[in-house]
Amino acid sequence: MLNNNKSESIYKTIIQKGFILLSLMFLWELIARSGIFNELLFPRFSTIALSFFQQVQNGYLIEITLVSLSLIFKGLLISLIIALLLSFLAMMGNFFHNLVEVLNSIFHPLPGIALLPVAMLWFGLSEASIIFIIAHSVIWPMVISFLTGLKSIPRINIEVGQNIGLKGPALIWGVMLPAASPYILSGIKIGWARAWRSAIAAEMVFGAVGTAGGLGWHIFKTRYDFDIVGTFAALLTIMVVGIVVEELFFNSIENRTIKRWNMIV
């Protein structure tokens, strides 16, 4: 039942994942070709792939992806800092804990759209507004993950940390962060995916000035133009970036940390 990943070679994982991806593409193509769904709404995978590669080749998709990625990166960084601060604050005492809990239960369920007027008032129709919306989407689930992680650190880890003279930020950095690292990582993983989603959604709402839009703006446009192949090619871009980041970034961090320490099987 319990599988032991360590003995499995990395190559095997890559081959298996590649196989899974190919199967999914094949399945898509098959369904599209079967004609049970209207091709206007469900184009063939091969058509999408073609359009994708054309637009990659001429640089357009890469360009707009970089625009979105830069937004996401900024949003994620700000969120990470705020979420860590909020979580540590909550660990400082009951009052702060209650405060963070109240803030989370108030703001977490609020749709981003709800903050548009506020974002507009504070940041105007600017990049800052989109980053604000991204942060709102990322911070709260991160806070839940981080806080659960901090609260379930084995007591003895903290006690040993206090014993050797660690306090405040040093204790946080030296003991609490590594001890809660499975939660921290899963919070960041969730945050990353959420940031994509809300960046796309926010770009669609806020629009873009002239030609400087990102992927979200592109999706909005292609959807408006009823260019469904274009929309799917943009979505394919998101998927590709998602897989690359998962494999290169998150998996390698996990292998160097929590997997190496046997904190996670």
Binding site: E159, N163, I164, G165, L166, G174, A179, N262, M263
Partner: protein
């Protein structure tokens, strides 16, 4: 040096307050090797945790060098009971070295001390192992090395040799005594083993099952103490009887 004055401690269990320690009074002199002996569940760990500053006493006071103990501190290094006190994200040598680094000890001396205490506990070949790769006894020995490497004025040890075989245990007992004398450390040592208490302790405090002090015994046997020496057997019998009284 350490004054335990009429200490009481209770926990709330299922809504009811349960007394775990009552009226504990004793003092530990500087440079003394002081043993706490008592049945399982008699409150040895709880008392040590109060002295360490990890729990608040319900009544009474604990004073270390005339300051009331209120929080953990580097002046009292604790070897906790059990195997899980190592940082899972650090190797054996990392676990020993990190506290030295935190306390501003130079890189060179850190290296030196780490090697010294690693050898002492017989783990020089396992410096790069992570805790999950160690046996129970090896984890315990790493924790002991970590505490010793800090060379603290007061060492609180909660059944540190509990899971070691006779040979290793004897070696470590001998080494602990040597280090104590060298550095003039004070040791407060919890054990459930009568032989160990006799071998190590200058004084032995015996707990009752109810968490009170049953008796305090002076141990004036000459060191090194071996079971066949005169006075050992009678001391053993005396302690065993005191413990058994219930």
């Amino acid at each position: 040096m350490l004054y335990i004055d009429n200490v009481g401690k209770s926990f709330i269990n299922n809504g009811i307050s349960v007394n775990v320690l009552s009226n504990i009074t004793f003092r530990v002199l500087s440079g003394e090797f002081f043993c706490l002996l008592g049945p399982s569940g008699s409150g040895k760990t709880t008392l040590l945790r109060c002295i360490g500053g990890y729990e608040k006493v319900t009544s009474g006071t604990i004073k270390l060098n005339n300051h009331t103990v209120s929080a953990p501190g580097i002046d009292r290094i604790m070897v906790f009971q059990g195997f899980d006190q190592l940082f899972a994200w650090k190797t054996v040598s990392g676990n020993i070295e990190y506290p030295l680094k935190v306390n501003g000890i130079s890189r060179v001396e850190r290296r030196e001390r780490t090697e010294k205490y690693l050898s002492l506990v017989g783990l020089h070949n396992y410096a790069n192992y992570y805790p999950f790769q160690l046996s129970g006894g090896m984890k315990q020995r790493t924790a002991i090395a970590r505490a010793l490497a800090l060379e603290p004025p007061l060492l609180l040890m909660d059944e540190p040799f509990g899971n070691l075989d006779a040979i290793t245990r004897h070696t470590l007992q001998r080494e602990l005594l040597r280090i104590k004398d060298e550095t003039n450390t004070t040791v407060l040592f919890v054990t459930h083993d009568i032989d160990e208490a006799i071998t190590l302790g200058d004084r032995i405090l015996i707990f009752s099952r109810q968490g009170t002090v049953k008796s305090q015994i002076e141990n004036n046997l000459n060191r090194p103490r071996i079971p066949s020496m005169p006075g050992y057997a009678s001391l053993w019998a005396n302690i065993y009887e005191t413990l058994g009284e219930g």
